[in-house]
């Protein structure tokens, strides 16, 4: 469905690969240690890296030509990505900006919207983010309470969103809001393009257990959005949001045609090397029990890699339907949980305490274990992925919902809205 195959009027893939190789070697800096930073400096650096791709004519390989892309196929993109592995790349622009929001814009945006927004994204000038989750909503994205009230050519938004990645440092958001309260919940939503830094929008960074401040909560107080920034149809925002979520699972899994450069993912339990290093630090690499654990941790990474390959290829070819992306997402999350457990066991007493400011490998594993569930929650919790696998991939009964087919204003919404 998203797969685009190379056609005869395109530059042959191998020619493109050769050009890409030369460009990368000449232009891009080598991959260093900092690629996995979530700092503001790194984010600025990645905007610059994206600009380098743009200037070299290698940004937006699968994006339409008329909006600044190259209009090439996923085979071209894969060739480029394969060639790019030795180099530093704007990895975090892939998710969410390119792989999720730009992808959704390509699919649902008007010609004007695409003309206006896509080139800026491809130049690295604009970071995008999705405003879907709400403080009271949990996994129930369609149970959206943020309201958008129309006043002529303008919508007025009030409410709050949460768990957006780096919204404080981003430029635009796609924001889901309720425009109709008299219809069942999925049918009264609209998706908007929202400029983040404008009057009425307050962004607060949320301190996570691991000390990061990347996730944000936003408060909307009479935020004005022109009707021309509605994505898709009014009251049909759930269609847009659903596809956005498909793009998200694809992009997170590394199967999106719109992302460029290897997809490393952020593995809360540390890499293989970390776990192995901890065993080496503890002097236990010859212990048969530790060896079984090291092997398991490594095998999990290998299996995870093969599963991503199988599922993304299957989705690209149509052999697997889009919900298969949930299999990757769930596997990745369970992998992080189990590998974190292995890490704790191998780190042993090293997780408890360490000389000031030098936690060492064991201390790192201990600290990483604190936020291990993040991967099982963000981008759709494990529970939601399991529902999707069972209901949409295996096609079995939907979970009973007490809010189906009744006007949303009549739905019970419970106690602890925060």
């Amino acid at each position: 469905m998203i797969e685009t195959r190379a056609t005869d009027d395109m530059e042959p893939v191998e020619d493109f690969r050769a050009r890409a190789r030369a460009f990368l070697e000449a232009t891009m800096p080598p991959l260093g240690d900092g690629w996995n930073d979530r700092s503001d400096e790194r984010r600025d650096r990645e905007r610059e890296l994206q600009a380098l791709l743009w200037q070299g004519g290698f940004a937006g390989i699968c994006f339409p030509k008329e909006y600044g892309g190259l209009g090439l196929s996923q085979e071209h993109q894969r060739a480029f990505t394969a060639e790019s592995t030795p180099y530093d790349m704007p990895f975090s622009l892939n998710v969410p900006t390119l792989g999720i929001l730009a992808a959704t814009l390509v699919e649902f945006g008007t010609h004007d919207q695409k003309l206006r927004y896509l080139p800026g994204i491809l130049r690295g000038e604009e970071l995008w983010v999705q405003f879907l989750s709400e403080p009271s909503g949990g996994s129930d994205l369609a149970g959206c309470l943020t309201r958008a009230d129309r006043d002529g050519d303008v919508f007025m938004l009030n409410g709050s969103k949460i768990w957006s990645s780096a919204a404080y440092a981003s430029d635009y958001a796609m924001c889901l809001a309720r425009t109709n309260w008299d219809v069942p919940k999925h049918r009264g939503l609209t998706m908007f393009i929202m400029k983040i830094h404008q009057p009425g929008v307050t962004v607060e960074q949320i301190r996570q257990v691991d000390g990061t401040l990347e996730f944000c909560q936003e408060f909307f107080d009479d935020v004005q959005i022109p009707a021309s920034d509605v994505v898709g149809e009014i009251d049909d925002g759930w269609t847009v949001a659903s596809r956005l979520l498909v793009h998200e699972r694809l992009a997170v899994g590394g199967g999106s045609p719109y992302t460029s450069g290897a997809s490393f993912g952020h593995d809360g339990s540390g890499t293989d090397t970390t776990i192995l290093d901890a065993a080496q630090e503890a002097g236990t690499t010859r212990d048969p029990h530790v060896r079984q654990l090291l092997a398991e941790a490594h095998v999990r990474q290998m299996v995870g890699g093969q599963l991503v390959k199988r599922v993304t290829e299957g989705m690209a070819s149509g052999a697997l339907p889009p919900p298969a992306g949930s299999v990757i997402k769930l596997f990745g999350a369970t992998n992080v949980m189990r590998r974190s457990e292995i890490g704790l066991e191998i780190a042993g007493a090293g997780v408890v305490a360490w000389p000031a400011d030098s936690p060492g490998v064991a201390g790192d594993l201990g600290r990483a274990s604190l936020s291990r569930q993040g991967v099982s929650l963000g981008g759709g919790s494990n529970e939601i992925q399991r529902n999707i696998i069972r209901e949409r991939l295996l096609g079995r009964p939907r979970e009973a919902a007490a809010d189906r087919d009744i006007p949303y204003r009549d739905v019970r919404r419970g106690g602890s809205a925060s």
Binding site: Q292, Q306, A324, R386, P397, E399
Partner: protein, 367 residues
């Protein structure tokens, strides 16, 4: 199974499936429980005619395959056999046929391959664990035991590993060689037969496969083929059991609702599906790596066994649980699947042994 097959592979898989459905239903497996051989030689010969024993043998020697690498075709058959638990010595016959075809002498080719290819003869692969060998002029004096050899008592030919001057060597013995004592064993699987083989025999140089002392890489490759086929079979069995369970949960009502509507069961099926897909993924990767002779073949094969072994028993046990009481009765086929995957888990290296090999790769040291 690979999600995308070539046309030829697709046709081969379909033909195999139809053949197995007709000739090898689980009722046939049950009927073979008390047969010494554990499989029907006539059915085996039909399967051989469809290609089940010739895919790893070059065309020039009477074999041939559909794609670039015969193993990529053969795993399709193994997976289909796993789905119905078809009886027959798929692993040992193919491993030995591959070994003889690629390393055997012309005399061995002529003597052994035709029978294996047409299904009239059976071979046993006695594995990498060596018996002792001392030289006696041109001859080798072998002594030792090969334990738990698949199809050991059904085999006409035995491919035995021996240490000659501490170097691995492979020797092909007729099963009726004087001094070879085969003891059939009982076991967990209803039809897969194993035997202990005690060897105390003198063999001439014509028995050696390849060069004396030079068989290390070949033996490792044989182990890889065995594991790849076994993993494919196991994944086929898992796939079928999962399918049966989905059907069962959809049909069955409890408390006025289909069982499949209970979220706790739904989530377990989702986890099982995830594990099933992950097993497909790593089994496929292992088959590909061995077929293509990738440098990481050993690592991927080890990973496949480490992953699939315990997940297979776990998934089948969970599916038994989801079936309720009927799942632990003799009458229901689930236990046949459980027996097969439990045996597969523990043959051609346990998951723990394969994990230890991974650890050696990783740490660069031994335990």
């Amino acid at each position: 199974m690979e999600l995308q097959l070539s046309e030829e592979q697709d046709a081969f898989a379909s033909t195999t499936r139809r053949f197995l459905a007709a000739e090898c239903p689980t009722t046939a497996v049950r009927a073979l429980e008390h047969e010494a051989a554990g499989f029907d030689r006539a059915v085996w010969a039909q399967g051989a005619a469809l290609g089940g024993t010739s895919l790893l043998v070059p065309e020039s020697l009477g074999g041939g395959c559909f794609s670039e690498h015969g193993l990529s075709d053969l795993v399709l058959a193994a997976e289909e056999m796993g789905r119905v638990l078809a009886a027959g010595p798929l692993v040992p016959v193919n491993v030995v046929a591959e070994a003889i075809a690629h390393h055997g002498s012309e005399e061995q080719h002529q003597r052994v391959l035709p029978g294996l290819l047409d299904g009239s003869a059976v071979a046993a692969w006695c594995g990498p664990a060596p018996v002792r060998a001392t030289r006696d002029g041109e001859s080798l004096v072998l002594s030792g035991r090969c334990s738990t050899v698949e199809a050991g008592a059904q085999a006409d030919h035995l491919l035995v590993t021996a240490l000659v001057d501490d170097q691995p060597t492979q020797v092909l013995l007729p099963a009726d060689t004087p001094g070879v004592l085969v003891t059939p064993l009982d076991g967990l699987d209803l039809v897969r037969r194993f035997a202990d083989i005690d060897i105390s025999a003198t063999v001439g140089p014509e028995a050696v496969v390849g060069a004396v002392g030079d068989a290390g890489p070949a033996i490792e490759h044989q182990g890889h083929i065995a594991c790849v086929l076994q993993c494919a079979e196991t994944v086929g069995a898992m796939d079928r059991v999962f399918e049966m369970t989905l059907e069962y949960l959809g049909d069955r009502y409890s408390f006025g609702r289909p069982l499949s509507s209970y979220q706790a069961l739904k989530h377990r099926m989702a986890d099982d599906k995830m594990h099933l897909e992950s097993c497909h993924a790593i089994a496929t990767a292992a088959a590909r790596a061995v077929a293509q002779g990738s440098p990481d073949a050993d690592e991927v094969v080890n990973a496949a066994k480490v992953w699939i072994g315990p997940h297979a028993t776990e998934l089948v046990q969970d599916c038994i649980q989801l079936h309720g009481g009927i799942g632990v009765t003799w009458e229901h086929d689930l236990h046949l699947y459980l027996r097969r995957v439990t045996v597969n888990r523990a043959t051609y290296g346990t998951p723990e042994e394969h994990a230890e090999r991974i650890a050696r790769h990783l740490t660069g040291v031994t335990a």
